[in-house]
Symmetry: C2
Subunit: 224 residues, 2 copies
Amino acid sequence: MTDKAPKPTKISRSGAQANEIARLLRTDIISGEIPQGEILRQENLAQRFQTSRMPVRDALRILEQEGLVDLQPNRGAQVAILDVEGIREIYEMRAVAEVLALRHAIPELTNSQIEKAEKIRSEAESAGLEQFGVLNKAFHETLYAPCARPRLLSHISSLHDLADRYLRIAAIELDYIDRSNQEHCQLLAACNARDTLKACKLLDQHIISAGEKLFTRLKEASTR
Amino acid sequence: MTDKAPKPTKISRSGAQANEIARLLRTDIISGEIPQGEILRQENLAQRFQTSRMPVRDALRILEQEGLVDLQPNRGAQVAILDVEGIREIYEMRAVAEVLALRHAIPELTNSQIEKAEKIRSEAESAGLEQFGVLNKAFHETLYAPCARPRLLSHISSLHDLADRYLRIAAIELDYIDRSNQEHCQLLAACNARDTLKACKLLDQHIISAGEKLFTRLKEASTR
DNA sequence: ATTATTAATATTGGATACAATAATAAAAAT
DNA sequence: ATTTTTATTATTGTATCCAATATTAATAAT
């Protein structure tokens, strides 16, 4: 099937439309609204966004670089397939990158930043499946922000986006969210005590175990 | 100054020219042939590569994602500035990513792969400043290849490219190369013994200390 | 009937043309 | 003289057009 023509979305007519198109497509892909494997035709997207194919092509290139779209020369674009084996890789990369960020962040962490993270955590507690991904990302990024390493933070952000796609199709249970929330509490406590070593250890376990759980969850779903 | 028009380079007329243009520009930027801060005009590049501005734009986007080019909407592209403070960040990211790769690679490492790495190492021994960067990258990537994690390997490759730019402008001494070579020997020994823990420890120190050395080298060069 | 070959169609890649924005130079005002 | 405003130029962003490639359908051959 091709992209069923959705409501034409008028976008800001200024500057770089490519970035705006990429932004909209990105959220659609992460949320699963555009499913994996979907073929993205330049003409259809151009109609949807009321532009020519040119900015659409630019946007597809951007998303390709982020790993959300596969682009084959002369053959078009398709939403990147989520191969279950790849989950481990992404979560391993997250673990080492985020531990590095946290290690440098903790000495610079202010109380108000910890409070902000706690606020996001409590929000996530009552939130449903829909918002879990974005709140989870916000929680983590709040803690890492003071590490003052822009390249590292951008890298982590990309990995979160990739991971969130799996979360969506995994249809995670409340159990998963509860456990994550508990681990976030422990992590916050260690941050509050400025216990860098403990916090890093907790974070590493938190990410790796989440990845493992997701992996088995999707594995059994695919064979069932 | 703008890009002084160099010899027009005819490139393969098929498929995706953007990747080819990106490849050529990448080596020029890494080697320092195109210096940091240089403004890249689409028209000039199009002339150089005998194409229109269109594939050039695609290429610039690719390089932007790799961190080699800064792209500002409606204002053009410039070769990314090498801020000395950023060296540590890149080398820290290299360390954790490459240790992760090596950890998973060693159990899968074959003797012939180790021999190949050793061959590259001995080549680097006699090589000059020019080839050090590319041989160093080849050495490391040979050891990581069997980890079978494409996303991780691509990430590492990008980080190497970024690091190599600093190497070029640092005008490193033979001392630096000698030490690197010695550490490569030790690393190979640990790999040969399939001693994962030791190899990872050596690799981590190898990368971090190289980053530190580069940092101080450039720091003193900028104040002198 | 099945496969191979050719023709028709759809889709992407690239070139040219035009529009919007930013940078620069010139002119006017204080 | 300095600042503000306006006009000019340079450069990027987008649209449209054409060419190259891939896909599909139709035809021919075995």
